[in-house]
């Protein structure tokens, strides 16, 4: 439904987006992940035709954004960065305006607006001016605006930014409910969000795609993938460490970040859980907890987006468009 081909954009000497290609099909929720200034918003601006790419194009439901901008724009709903809306309009007037521009009329427009207002819970602020709304409500007005014409492709730039945890949960529920019928892209820098709603994630940094896969696949690239977390009694710690380190596939034994457990790291993501369980059964370790790590997305994110041997991002990688 959405095909991105070799999008590239430079701002002067700065490479903002560098040869980005991917496709999103119906039923997919693609999480667009990256540090601030990675090129997420710039890519979205090019997909939606707000920014002309230097090279490449985006095709939305068969319509090239450069050749058939109107047909392409009718096929998507877009929440731009920062959820802009006309501050001196009421929510009701604003949604009606968008519905009219989107070609909805009369009864149909009213029905769609009612449905969306119900869906994203805007009833209580419906007659309020947008500049009097809290950040969370403003964001929801932005999302409502993007969904009003029931588009097949939905592009949301940070849809949960500024929402409280309950509202985030709710928004994810809304996205999940629509998922089957739509192709959805959301940009975020929240890893929990990717794990919660995305069927696929792309990590982008310095304008390039660095990883592309399901959240589970990406997590499997973490050095914690298949590691085992053991909660033990401190008195036995030295002995247990030595026993664990002697197991064939164990690389190292580390102390967990919270300090209450050991994290046994496997060699090359090998499965070591069975071996450890067997070992533990034969000895009196008094294990309080035992868990296999699927991998940590934040760990993958950090290792993928930080240039090798360079843990401070160079100043030039800041992106002016963001």
């Amino acid at each position: 439904m959405l095909e991105i081909r070799n999008l590239s954009k430079n701002f002067g000497p700065l490479v903002a987006v560098d040869d980005v290609s991917f496709t999103v099909s119906r039923g997919e929720v693609l999480g667009f992940l990256g540090p601030n200034g990675a090129g997420k918003s710039t890519t979205m601006k090019m997909i939606t035709g707000f920014l002309a790419p230097d090279r490449g194009t985006a095709v939305i439901c068969g319509h090239d954004i450069a050749d058939e901008p109107l047909a392409a724009k009718r096929s998507f709903g877009y929440l731009p960065e920062g959820a802009p809306a006309y501050p001196d309009m009421t929510v009701a007037d604003f949604l009606r305006f968008i519905a009219h521009v989107r070609g909805l009329r009369g009864e149909e427009a009213t029905a769609r607006i009612d449905h969306i207002v119900e869906l994203v819970h805007l009833n209580e602020v419906y007659e309020q001016r947008i500049d009097t709304l809290s950040k969370g409500f403003r964001r929801r007005v932005g999302v409502a605006q993007a969904l009003i014409h029931d588009p097949p492709v939905i592009i949301l730039d940070e849809p949960t930014d500024g929402l409280d945890p309950n509202q985030k949960y709710e928004m994810r529920g809304i996205l999940a409910a629509m998922q089957a019928e739509k192709a959805i892209i959301i940009s975020t820098h929240l890893l929990e969000e990717v794990e919660a709603v995305c069927s696929r994630a792309i990590i982008i940094a310095r304008g390039r795609i660095l990883a592309d896969g399901t959240p589970a696949e990406l997590a499997a690239r973490s050095r914690f993938h298949n590691a085992v977390r053991l909660e033990i009694e401190p008195v036995n710690e030295a002995r247990i460490r030595a026993d664990l380190a002697a197991l064939p596939d164990v690389a190292t034994v580390e102390t967990a970040d919270d300090g209450h457990a050991l994290v046994v790291m496997p060699r090359d993501h090998a499965s070591i859980a069975a071996g450890i369980a067997e070992l533990a059964e034969g000895r009196d370790w008094h294990i309080g907890g035992f868990a296999i790590e699927r991998g940590r997305l934040d760990d993958v994110f950090r290792s993928v987006t930080t240039p090798p041997g360079d843990h401070e991002l160079p100043a030039s990688s800041a992106e002016p468009a963001n």
Partner: protein, 245 residues
């Protein structure tokens, strides 16, 4: 095409009246028009039942008031970021540009129409030539449209409303002043006749004055029309080139 332009125009126009801004503007517009007419234009002392002293000052009134309306047209969209929302909706750039312009032009038309008590005054005091007054109103509105188009194009080029105002007002000042005798006088005597005519012909002042004499000449209508078209086209080009900056 027309439908989208109208939807945009309606949204913009209701936006003017959503804040006290529109009412403040209209009040200042009417007060200024009154001050210029009665105190500077010697409305009563002339002893003639016409609106000549009222219309004479319109170019100068618009010099200040129209760039004040025009400055926010695009600068505000840029500043609040709504330009990204607006231009990713399925509307043509031309519809967006014309819709916004039309709303501001209608707003100026409303302000201008509210000067009707001036007309009532001369109607009460004497027997004015209503044809001339109607032509003058139309000419005044056309001139407002031309100045507005210039201001809108300049507003499209900047995020800063103050810069938009100052640059448009300066440009409009040049365009008005070019037709006054003060400016043409500088050239008289040494410059070729053709040049003086060309400078005067480019001026908003000359064309407007011609209309206030009661003649809606096609050339004057064409002049204002072409300024509007040219600057609206420039407006669209500027937005297209710089919308994402």
């Amino acid at each position: 095409m027309i439908r989208n332009t109208w939807i945009i125009c309606r949204r913009e126009l209701s936006g003017y009246f959503a804040t006290p801004l529109a009412y403040v503007f209209i009040v200042i517009f009417l007060v200024l028009a009154g001050v210029l007419t009665f105190f500077v234009g010697d409305f009563f002392e002339r002893g003639q039942a016409d609106l000549q002293p009222f219309f004479t000052f319109h170019p100068w009134l618009y010099l200040v008031m129209v760039p004040a309306v025009a400055m926010r047209l695009w600068a505000e969209e840029r500043k609040s970021g709504t330009i990204e929302l607006f231009l990713t909706l399925p509307v043509r750039l031309g519809e967006a540009v014309v819709g916004k312009f039309l709303a501001a032009w209608l707003f100026l038309g409303i302000a201008l129409a509210l000067t009707f008590p001036f007309w009532l005054t001369v109607l009460f005091l004497g027997d004015p030539d209503n044809g001339v007054i109607l032509a003058s109103y139309i000419g005044s509105w056309l001139m407002a449209g031309a100045i507005l188009a210039i201001g809108a194009a300049i507003s499209a080029a900047t995020k800063n409303q103050v810069i938009a105002f100052v640059v448009s007002a300066s440009l409009v000042f040049v365009l008005i002043a070019a037709g006054t005798q003060t400016v043409t006088g500088i050239f008289t005597g040494w410059a070729p006749e053709g040049l003086i005519h060309a400078i005067a012909a480019a001026s908003l002042f000359g064309h407007f004055t011609a209309i206030t004499r009661g003649v809606l000449d096609l050339r004057d209508l064409f002049y204002f029309g072409s300024i509007m078209v040219a600057f609206l086209a420039a407006n669209a080009v500027i937005i297209d080139l710089t919308k994402a900056e």
